[in-house]
Structures are given as structure tokens and as C-alpha cells.
């Protein structure tokens, strides 16, 4: 897992819950990295998972809900760090449908060894999009949060339905309908 | 059997003798006209008063080529109806084709042996004497 996901996550935890909670969830986890993260490094995904689980236990908020909030935060990171990535799009559907073909390509330029989920476009119209998310990480709510923010970024809203194709969440169908 | 008036166009005196002798040998009553000289023969034809029923024409003649002679005949509105049979020793395919192209009624090769010659002439004349022919002199009578 890319370091930036972890550093931004801990940053958000610190902002929302304080340094104390950061310290607590790190201490509670068994981390090979000992909680020392840099955005350019690469770490085990299990570290992210442990941090998430301990934060969920501490705050009594579900992991999915935490991921959703985190994704919204992460979108603002993208917005401020890589404005060029967003500037070329005029429409949220266009942008989301080109995750595979464009955004992930750009990501690989910066993080060549990043392990990225796949988003397969099943159906696309001007105002709707059906995609299949596939990732062993089962971080579909992270994706959902990013999508929500995307619509917000373009001053619109959408109904996004999630349907788990696989119980463990490694394969999920996203049905997106833009509100008119 | 009809009696034919035959014009033999032949320069060679012995050939003419051969033909005449053949006719008398076969005891045929055909009338043989011709001057033994191509130029006179042409004049005779040009008068159109005493036209033959058939013409027998040799191809290789010193004064006028038989094919030229044939062309003159076939370009004439009266003479073109007279059946003209080539009687020659030349079996040159080119000559044969040229003759048929202009229009002939037959092409007979003169054999070496006199007996064969007699037999060929007999058959030839027998054939023409049973044929219906245009009366070429009729025109003169109607006027």
C-alpha cells in the first residue's frame, strides 16, 4: 500500500480525533513499520487494515463509514496536489468512467508499483454509469467517497448504489445515476 | 442433262487441248467458248451477249493473275452470277482462301495423270449440268 494513503489517513485521524488517538491505534496495532510512514514509501495493506480496525473499535464507527470520510478527505488531497488531473474533466460521469484509462495511468507515473483496483465500465449514458469494482482490498467505500466528492466538485449530486457481487466486498457493482 | 456453255480461261495451249479432248472423249455436248487468251476472254465477257453458264479459271497465268480476273468477275453486276470454278495445279492454302473469300463455286486441283484429270472433269461437268443456273442473257432479251 502506498505510503500517502497511510500518512493522509493518520493526518485525518489527528485532525478529527487528536494525536492521542493516533498514538493509541498505532500502539494497539502490530506494525512492521512501527507506524513510521512516508508518502513515497510502500507498506503492507494489513497495517492500514489494523489501523482502521482499531480506530473503528475506538470510535464505534464502522470501517465503511470511516473509509467514506477518509475518501472525502483524500479527494481534497488530490484536488490540492494534482489539480491538473481534475482540470481536464467537465463532467463527473466522464471523469469516473475514465478512472481505469486515464487516472490510474497518471497514478502509475508517480507510483509505478501501486496496486490499484480495477473499475470496469459496464454501461454508460450521459447521466448514468454502471461499473464493477474489483480489488482484494475491499475498499469500495473509499471509492464511493471519492465518487461523492467528484460530483460535489462539479456542483452536482448523484444516487450511487452499491451491490456486493462477492460477499467479502472484493467485487462490487456501482450503479451511478446523476441527479438532474 | 443440260448442255452447258463453258468458258475455259487458260493460257496454256496444251491445257486447252487437254480439256477439249476430254470433252470429246467423254462424248459430251457442252459448248466450249474462249479465245485461249485472257485479254480476248475479258472482251468477250464485257460484251455480255454470249455469256457462258459456267467459267473454269486457271490461277497461274502469265498475263493476268487468276485472282485478279476473279475479282473483275465478282465486281460486275451481271458476271457475278456465273459460277466460277478454279482449275489449277496450285494447292496453296492462301490462294484457296483468297478465292473462296472473293467467291467461287469450286476449287479443283489438276492431277498429274491424264486419266485422273478426265475423271475429275467428268464429275465436275456432270454436277453443273444438273444444276439450276441463272439465265444471264435474259437481261438482253427483256429490253
Amino acid at each position: 500500500m502506498k505510503g500517502i494513503v497511510l500518512t493522509e489517513f493518520l493526518e485525518l485521524v489527528e485532525t478529527k480525533f487528536g494525536l492521542e488517538v493516533v498514538d493509541k491505534i498505532i500502539s494497539a496495532s502490530k506494525l512492521e513499520s512501527e507506524g513510521i510512514y512516508t508518502s513515497v514509501g510502500t507498506y503492507e495493506f494489513s497495517e492500514m487494515l489494523q489501523l482502521l480496525q482499531h480506530l473503528s473499535a475506538h470510535t464505534k464507527i464502522s470501517i465503511d463509514a470511516l473509509l467514506l470520510v477518509y475518501a472525502e478527505h483524500f479527494f481534497s488531497v488530490i484536488e490540492s496536489s494534482y489539480p491538473g488531473l481534475l482540470a481536464i474533466y467537465k463532467d463527473p460521469i466522464e471523469m469516473i468512467s475514465s478512472i481505469e484509462n486515464h487516472i490510474h495511468v497518471e497514478v502509475r507515473k508517480i507510483y509505478p508499483d501501486a496496486e490499484l483496483p480495477t473499475f470496469e465500465v459496464i454501461e454508460k449514458t450521459e447521466n448514468s454509469l454502471i461499473m464493477i469494482y474489483k480489488s482484494s482490498r475491499a475498499m469500495h467505500h473509499f471509492g464511493l467517497g471519492l465518487m461523492n466528492k467528484t460530483f460535489e466538485y462539479f456542483n452536482s449530486t448523484a444516487v450511487i448504489d452499491l451491490e456486493k457481487i462477492k460477499e467479502d466486498g472484493t467485487e462490487v457493482k456501482f450503479s451511478i445515476t446523476k441527479n438532474k | 442433262m443440260k448442255t452447258l456453255k463453258i468458258l475455259l480461261i487458260e493460257d496454256d495451249a496444251i491445257e486447252v487441248m487437254k480439256f477439249n479432248r476430254t470433252i470429246s472423249k467423254l462424248k459430251l455436248n457442252h459448248e466450249i467458248i474462249g479465245a485461249n487468251n485472257v485479254e480476248d476472254d475479258l472482251k468477250l465477257l464485257a460484251q455480255k451477249t454470249n455469256l457462258p453458264n459456267i467459267i473454269l479459271l486457271d490461277l497461274n497465268m502469265p498475263k493476268i493473275n487468276g485472282i485478279e480476273f476473279l475479282s473483275i468477275l465478282k465486281n460486275d453486276d451481271t458476271l457475278k452470277y456465273i459460277p466460277t470454278i478454279i482449275l489449277t495445279t496450285s494447292n496453296n492454302q492462301k490462294d484457296l482462301i483468297a478465292c473462296y473469300e472473293i467467291g467461287i463455286a469450286g476449287y479443283v486441283l489438276k492431277p498429274l495423270k491424264y486419266e485422273d484429270y478426265v475423271s475429275k472433269i467428268e464429275k465436275l461437268l456432270a454436277y453443273w449440268s444438273i444444276n439450276e443456273l441463272k439465265n444471264t442473257n435474259e437481261r438482253n432479251r427483256t429490253y
Partner: protein
């Protein structure tokens, strides 16, 4: 509580330091990686440059050493580059003067060249283009051009290159050859015509003599003695032989190839047809031992060939049970045929002579000695050979080949 906070802060600080060091280490690793990559790139660049230099020098070598004229021009036909042979062919040098394709070609050819040049640009190449050009010294030359377009790295056409060959001489020779062939054909036709006329002129007196002899006999029945009558018979058979001779000479002189009549000929059918034409006495058998091939040529020539050989085999057979065997074997570039008989045979000393014209070994009534000459002439026309094997008194085998 303070102590607790202090612990948290210390741990956070420790993490921050650790993270910084880790980041520095990663970046260090990255720069080493970059350095290595740069070195590698430099190396491969160097190799590429060397390769380009080699290729360029090779090309220059080709350009300078090529025997044919080589010209490079831009898309408007301006000459950019030309080699030594091009300079000596055209008389112009692009280093000293501006040369354009359209002023180089003859005025009458400009339209044709315009069309071909745009075809070259559109299709990328033209071959076998022939055009009249005027050299600097105002010589008109006919040249043959193969040209292609040079593209830049974006596949955009930038120039045209062409190999120019002077074919003025070749073309002249070709024209001369054509003229000669035409002349030859004409004189062949004339000869043919001449042969026919001569043959007619010779035959006519023969038939006259024949008629005169017949009349002498007819008009004097009972007046000649037996001896005189026999002599009349001799005159007649001599006349017949002479006539046959004239016919055969005419036949021999007309054996020449007519390319337009060439087609695939099944020799099996030729032989079957011949068996119907030739008179085969009942005591003579003809066997074809193997299936004969299909050969390309004039049917009548093959027929003449087999007719003469089979005819001879029949004519010169003196055995009670005559046997003629026809066989063939296939070789790499030709077929080898054999016609074997059990006839009189030919003495060794005559083996070469029999193919010469008028050379008949026998005083046979209907043999003039031209048949085998015709056979030889036909085989010569088809680039073949003929030879014989013979056991005098026992039989003869004619072998001959026909090119495939």
C-alpha cells in the same frame, strides 16, 4: 497526564524523524536508480549513434559506388542529390546548378511525367517507368526509372529517390530486332510464295507431258510394240516420282514454326488419329508401350513427325509379322521417344546420311528421301535431337527428344 502527553509527543516525534529518514533513504535509492538509468541511456545512445554513423557511411558507400545513376529530388522535382553516374548521364551537376525533373524530361513527356510523379507520391513507388529526357548537351535519351518515396519519422513524404538507367541503346537494338524479325517474316512469306509458284510451274509441264504420252498411246492403239509400251510406262512413273518430289520439297520448305498455332497436344490422341489415316497392312502391329505425354506445340507438326517415322517403319518392313513399338521416357527437361521396328534395318555407314535432304536409300516407288529431312527439321524446331540404332536386316529404332 503530562507524562502521558510527553510520551505521545515523543513517540510522534520519533515517528516523524523515522519517516523523514525513510523518505530520504527512498529518495537516495531513487537518485541512484536515476543515475544508473542515465548511464545506461547514455551508453545505449552512444551505441545508437555509432550504428547510425555506420549505416550512414554504408549508405554513402552505396550512393557513391552504385553503377546506375541515382537521384534524390524533393516533392516538386528539384534535384537535391545525385551520384557520379547521374552527373555523367545527364551532364548536369546539382552542386553547380538547379535541376528540375520537369525541365529535364522532353517537352512531349511532361504530362506523362506529371501523372507518374503524383502516382509515385501517392503510392510510394513506381517501377519500370520509361521516359525521354534531354541531357545538358541536348542529347535525347530514353531512360528507365524505378523510384520510391523517402519518408520522415512521422511517415510524411519528404523526397523521392530513383535509380535511372539509360536504355537508349537497348531500345534501339530492340527496335532493330523487331524490324529484322518483321523483315525475316516477310521474306519467309515471300519464299513460301515463291516455293508454291515454282512448284506449280514445275508441275504444269509434267501433267502436260503425261497427257501427251496418254494421247500418243490412245491415238496409236495396237501400233506400238511391247517394249515401247513399257517405255511409256517408265515415262509415266518417272513423271509421278518427279511430281512427288516437287510436293515433298514444297512440304519441306513450309516446315516452320507458327507460334500462334501452339497448344497442348496429347500425343496419345495424335497416334490414335494417325492409325486411322495411315494404311497399316494386316501383318503389321503398332504398340504404344507407355502412356505418351501432352506436349506444347503445333499439332500438325507432331502429326507429320510421327506419320513420317511410323510410315517409314511400315514401308520398310519385310517380316512376316511386323511389329512397331512406340515408347517414351521422361527426363528432367525433355521427353525421349523411341519408334522401334523389326524391318530391313539400316547399314551403319548411312546412319548420319539419312537425315540429309533427298537422301533415300531405297528406290522405293513412293519415297523421295525428304520424309526424314522433314522429321529432322521439326525436331530441330523443338530443340530436340534424333538418332538411330539399327541392326542391319533385323530392325531399326529411331530415338528422338522433344524439349518440355
Amino acid at each position: 497526564m503530562n507524562q502521558q502527553l510527553e510520551g505521545i509527543l515523543l513517540r510522534a516525534l520519533k515517528r516523524e524523524k523515522g519517516a523523514r529518514k525513510a523518505a530520504e533513504k527512498i529518495l537516495e535509492g531513487k537518485s541512484t536508480e536515476f543515475y544508473d538509468l542515465t548511464q545506461k541511456l547514455k551508453k545505449s545512445n552512444f551505441k545508437l549513434e555509432k550504428l547510425i554513423a555506420e549505416k550512414s557511411s554504408e549508405l554513402r558507400g552505396v550512393f557513391e559506388n552504385i553503377v546506375d545513376a541515382y537521384v534524390v529530388m524533393d516533392l516538386r522535382g528539384n534535384v537535391i542529390k545525385m551520384n557520379e553516374p547521374a552527373t555523367s548521364l545527364l551532364g548536369y551537376d546539382n552542386n553547380q546548378e538547379n535541376i528540375n525533373l520537369f525541365t529535364l524530361v522532353d517537352v512531349s513527356e511532361v504530362e506523362k511525367v506529371k501523372k507518374s510523379y503524383s502516382k509515385l507520391i501517392n503510392n510510394g513507388s513506381i517501377t519500370n517507368f520509361q521516359v525521354k529526357i534531354n541531357t545538358k548537351s541536348n542529347d535525347q535519351k530514353l531512360v528507365h526509372i524505378n523510384a520510391s518515396i523517402i519518408y520522415d519519422e512521422n511517415h510524411k513524404a519528404i523526397a523521392a529517390q530513383g535509380i535511372v538507367r539509360d536504355i537508349t541503346e537497348i531500345k534501339n537494338l530492340e527496335l532493330q530486332k523487331e524490324k529484322l524479325l518483321l523483315k525475316l517474316g516477310k521474306s519467309n512469306d515471300e519464299l513460301q510464295e515463291y516455293a508454291h509458284i515454282v512448284s506449280h510451274d514445275l508441275k504444269s509441264p509434267l501433267s502436260s507431258i503425261y497427257a501427251l504420252v496418254s494421247w500418243l498411246k490412245e491415238d496409236n492403239i495396237g501400233k506400238f510394240d511391247k517394249n515401247s509400251l513399257q517405255n511409256f510406262g517408265h515415262i509415266e512413273s518417272t513423271l509421278e516420282k518427279m511430281e512427288l518430289l516437287i510436293s515433298d520439297v514444297l512440304l519441306y520448305s513450309s516446315v516452320s514454326l507458327d507460334e500462334s498455332k501452339k497448344l497442348n497436344v496429347d500425343l496419345n490422341i495424335v497416334i490414335e488419329d494417325l492409325k486411322k489415316i495411315i494404311f497399316i497392312p494386316s501383318h503389321i502391329k503398332i504398340n504404344v508401350k507407355n502412356k505418351l505425354p501432352v506436349v506444347f506445340g503445333e499439332r500438325t507438326k507432331f502429326q507429320q513427325l510421327f506419320q513420317n517415322l511410323i510410315g517409314n517403319a511400315i514401308k520398310f518392313n519385310n517380316k512376316k509379322n511386323g511389329l512397331i513399338e512406340i515408347d517414351v521416357s521422361e527426363k528432367k527437361s525433355f521427353y525421349q521417344f523411341s519408334i522401334k521396328d523389326n524391318g530391313v534395318g539400316i547399314e551403319k555407314k548411312y546412319h548420319d546420311k539419312i537425315f540429309k535432304i533427298f537422301h533415300s536409300l531405297n528406290d522405293h516407288k513412293d519415297s523421295t528421301g525428304i520424309g526424314l529431312s522433314i522429321v529432322k527439321k521439326i525436331i530441330d524446331l523443338y530443340n530436340g535431337n534424333i538418332w538411330i540404332e539399327s541392326d542391319y536386316g533385323k530392325g531399326t529404332t529411331f530415338h528422338f527428344t522433344l524439349k518440355k
